[in-house]
Each structure stands twice: as C-alpha cells, then as structure tokens.
C-alpha cells in the first residue's frame, strides 16, 4: 500500500514533486483548477493534511494560486517556471553525478543515442 513512497524525502515533498511533474506535462493545464484535497487524498490514499502541505509547497513555489472560494489554480506561466527550475536542478546537481558516472564507465558523447528508443 505504501510502496509508492520511498524513504528519502517526507511524503508531502514526494507528493509535491509528483504533482509538479504532472504540471510540467500540462496536467492540469495552466489556468485550470487543481483537484481538491479530498480527491487527491483519495487518489493517493494519503492523509488530507499531507495533501494540503504538498499543495501549499507548490503554492509557495509560485506554481498555484488560491482563488477565493474556488480553490487552487495553476498559475499562468507555471510550466515555464517549473521547466526553468528543473533545468537548473538537473544542471547543478544531477549532471555532475551523471558526468562522473559516465566518465567512470568510459562513455562519451559518441556512444549516446538521442533517438527515442520507442
């Protein structure tokens, strides 16, 4: 039942990351309403307070806005903002690790295919 959460980060943070990944894919699209706390709690089988914390984290990051009486909406420009921060995160933390691993394995640019395997 809990296999979908790893033991790295707090669960609310993992949910926020997942919702952010969905936003990056345009789900839900900019300007649209986010699903309600109850709907998300039900979907992920999570405590509603945990869901609220995750949504609050996304609102604090400027990706969601609260429209009084209507709930949370995806801010216009949220995808671009997310893409920028994800790129920044990749280049500053993931890429150095990946580069190190590629060097260890002796893999150069010429070994890598840019074609989709599907």
């Amino acid at each position: 039942m809990t296999s979908s959460w790893d033991d790295g980060l707090p669960i609310y943070q993992q949910l926020a990351d997942r919702l952010a990944a969905a936003l990056l894919d345009g789900n839900p699209p900019e300007g649209s309403a986010m699903p309600s706390v109850r709907a998300l709690a039900s979907q992920f089988l999570l405590n509603p307070l945990t869901v609220s914390r995750a949504l609050q984290a996304l609102a604090d990051a400027g990706l969601l806005e609260n429209r009084r009486g209507l709930g949370l909406f995806v801010v216009p420009g949220a995808r671009e903002r997310l893409r920028a921060s994800e790129r920044e995160r990749f280049l500053s933390t993931e890429w150095p690790r990946l580069r190190l691993r590629l060097k260890r394995l002796g893999i150069g640019a010429q070994h890598l295919s840019w074609e989709d395997s599907r």
Binding site: M1, D7, P48
Partner: protein
C-alpha cells in the same frame, strides 16, 4: 478562540487490580486528525480505547467531546463510535436488516448514507453476514459506523486478519468517506507501514506509558535518520543515535534531534520510518539482533 480538542487526557491511569495497564497519559486529539495508536501486544492500546468510550474507569482527567466518558457515556456515544477488536456482526442477519436495526438504535444513523456507502463495496443489501468474506464484513461494519453522524471514530485493529486488497478498500473508505477535516479517527494497528501515509499523528504506547505523541509534521522535524557508509559506523555510533538499523538506503542511524554537522556530513538524510522509530522507542535496540 482555540477550538476544543475532541479528546483531552491529563494524568490518565488505569489499573487492573495490582497491575497498572496505563500510567500517567497526557495527550490531546484535535479535530480533523487521523491518529495511529501503536504498541506491542499488552501495551495498553485496547484499554486506552475502552477508557475513551467509558468502558473502563480511569484515574486522572479525561474529556471526550467535552464529556466524562463514564458518567455521560450514553450522550457520548451519540457522537463517538467505536469498533472493538472483537467486534462481530450477527451472522444470521442480512445487511438490510442491520441497517434497519441501526436506524432504530442510533438517533444519528443515516440509513440512506449506509446504503450509499455499501454501493461502493461488493456487499449486497440482501447478503447474509455469514456468507460474506472477512474483508466484506469489515467493510460493511465500517460503512454502518461511518453512517453515524459522529465526530470521533475509534478503531481497534480494524484490519486484523484481512488480506491486502480488503485492507486497502477499508482504508480507502475511511479516507474518502470519513475524513472531512472536522472528524477525527484513532486507529490501532500492527501494520504500521501500511497506514503511515494515512496518519496525521502518532501515539506510541510501551508497557502502559505514552512514549511518543506527535504529529507527523513535527516528527519529520524532530527526528533525523542518516543513511551512511558502514565504514563510518563507529563515528556515527559515538554521536549516540537512538537506533542503528539497515534501511532501504543501507546502514541507517536514527537521531532524536539533529546530530552535530560533522556527523550529518558523514551520511545522507533519509525519512525516518515509523516502524524504525517505534522499535527504537519501545525496546532496547541492543537486545534486538535484527538491528546490528
């Protein structure tokens, strides 16, 4: 005005003859919480739940929904419901008969809502209890109890003996149909890992004492787990972790409060799991061979 907690206990103790079953418990359960009650067998979980609904007389101060559970038990049970671990539904009854029975017994029971909740399950209104699987009986029981317009639900080992799908269905109904931000649940279970993500708070009982009562939000802040290379285990041990165990990230040390920065730098911070914390607080880790 600060809203009244649904449960307020101060210096609560329960004795069975010479034996102390609960000793000096103080805690509060506010509204809108899902509180997990963890403890080994005999730690006092069932006794505490019984005290909360007035089935056990306790010393100390105890208010549930602003009432004295023993003196005002009838009034309390209008707004608090309890499924004991030994709960059974009469085997000869059909589900629609149980709904009629509940309608007659409980002033705040909604037959319409019970039928609506049961539609979510594979339990039919004409089914006899004796023909239902264990998981279906548990769901029918929850549906009946969740159809009471109450503010506090107390569940003692509700999923004991159920298979994994039935347990999931049970908790789905609890989250979807009961948790509305106002009502609270106190649930005891041994399947800690399964319900961890459903909880807002946790209470841990060890030999009748409350060794931890904390929201998961505060727990994330207070306890720190460090995944580390076995090579630095000795240096980590010198910082006096509560427990050292083998987690998903390999060797892990659990600290109450953040250890000094030089110790933190030896490992990577991971989320402490409730199970590990429970083990750390309820038994002497050096006696447990599974943990180094």
């Amino acid at each position: 005005m600060i809203p009244q907690p649904l449960v307020r206990a101060e210096g609560l103790s329960v004795r069975y003859g010479a034996r102390t079953a609960l000793q000096d418990l103080s805690f509060e359960i506010p509204k809108g919480r899902v509180v997990g009650l963890l403890g080994h067998n005999g730690a006092g979980k069932t006794t505490l739940m019984k005290a909360l609904v007035g089935l056990k007389t306790a010393q100390g101060r105890l208010q549930v929904l602003g009432m004295d559970p023993v003196r005002e038990r009838v009034a309390l049970l209008q707004s608090a419901c309890y499924i004991p671990d030994v709960a059974t539904l009469p085997r000869w009854a059909r589900v629609h008969e149980l709904i009629r029975l509940m309608s007659g017994l409980h002033p705040r029971f909604s037959a319409e809502r019970a039928r609506e909740l049961l539609r979510r399950t594979s339990v039919g209104l004409d089914d006899k209890v004796s023909r239902l699987s264990k998981g279906m009986v548990a769901q029918a029981h929850l549906a009946l109890v969740a159809s009471i317009d109450a503010r506090l639900m107390i569940l003692d080992e509700p999923t004991l003996g159920l298979d994994v799908l039935s347990r999931k269905a049970f908790y789905e109904m609890l989250i979807d149909e009961w948790c509305d931000g106002e009502r609270s649940v106190l649930v005891s279970t041994h399947q800690v890992e399964e319900i961890e993500s459903l909880l807002s708070d946790v209470m841990m009982l060890n030999e009748g004492r409350l060794v931890l009562s904390i929201s998961l939000e505060d727990l994330d802040r207070r306890f720190m787990a460090l995944g580390h290379d076995p090579a630095v285990a000795d240096r980590i041990a010198q910082a006096h972790p509560l427990l050292r165990y083998r987690g998903a990230a390999g060797a892990t040390a659990l600290f109450d409060g953040a250890p000094p920065p030089d110790i933190q730098a030896l490992g990577q911070r991971v989320r402490p799991s409730l199970v590990d914390l429970f083990v750390a607080l309820t038994r002497k880790p050096e006696l447990d061979r599974r943990h180094f």
